[in-house]
Symmetry: C2
Subunit: 139 residues, 2 copies
Amino acid sequence: MNIIRNKMIDLKVLGDGRGNLIPIESGHDINFDIKRVYYLFGMQDGVVRGLHAHKKLKQLLVVTSGSCKVVLDNGLDKQEYVLSSPEKGLLIGPNTWREMSQFSQDCVVMVLASEHYDEGDYIRNYGDFLEYIADKTNG
Amino acid sequence: MNIIRNKMIDLKVLGDGRGNLIPIESGHDINFDIKRVYYLFGMQDGVVRGLHAHKKLKQLLVVTSGSCKVVLDNGLDKQEYVLSSPEKGLLIGPNTWREMSQFSQDCVVMVLASEHYDEGDYIRNYGDFLEYIADKTNG
């Protein structure tokens, strides 16, 4: 199992005197078709979001306004990212526990996901996540 | 030809003490598959963007931060919208000339589009647009 499939990427900015445009073509600029888009806003001080992993779903996370912290955890190692630019995207693969925190008041997080919503694809308990990873690693 | 297919919609907000989440499922919450996502930011004062129509492409436009004005023109009538909430989406059908202006400094516009980028789908001259619409209406 390739458990580390997360990475920060530089997005292609089409900028001119009118401002900036970043296009993301489904299946081209990212290696999956976009089945679901969601965005987060209005997070209160001290809130932690995420706290789950996916068995299958891949996603690209972009902080289009403001900033926040994202910690990704593959069951062995944790990596911390500070996202504060609409020009950066964080690709998050399956089998990754994610925690998002330190949202600025103006923070908006846009997520492009490879799957439609499916509760069965979520692992919402950290102990279950570690067991799931251990099974995969040993299996 | 149904030339008026534009409308403002209320998006489904999943809100709780942690903040708000708005999900848009490709082909479910909008009546097309999402082939391309793009977003605009860093617009300068006085800038006008858009200034084109599409022959086929449909899109959902959401102002996730800040505000701007959008004028939609079907060749016969113009309609003006002020977008200033991440909870509102503007569905824009084909055969619609669009002009975007009055961007606040913090404005971010997210667009979910039904087609991959195809220059052949754009009409970039307003005179050509009016001719195209007249041909369609009479044809």
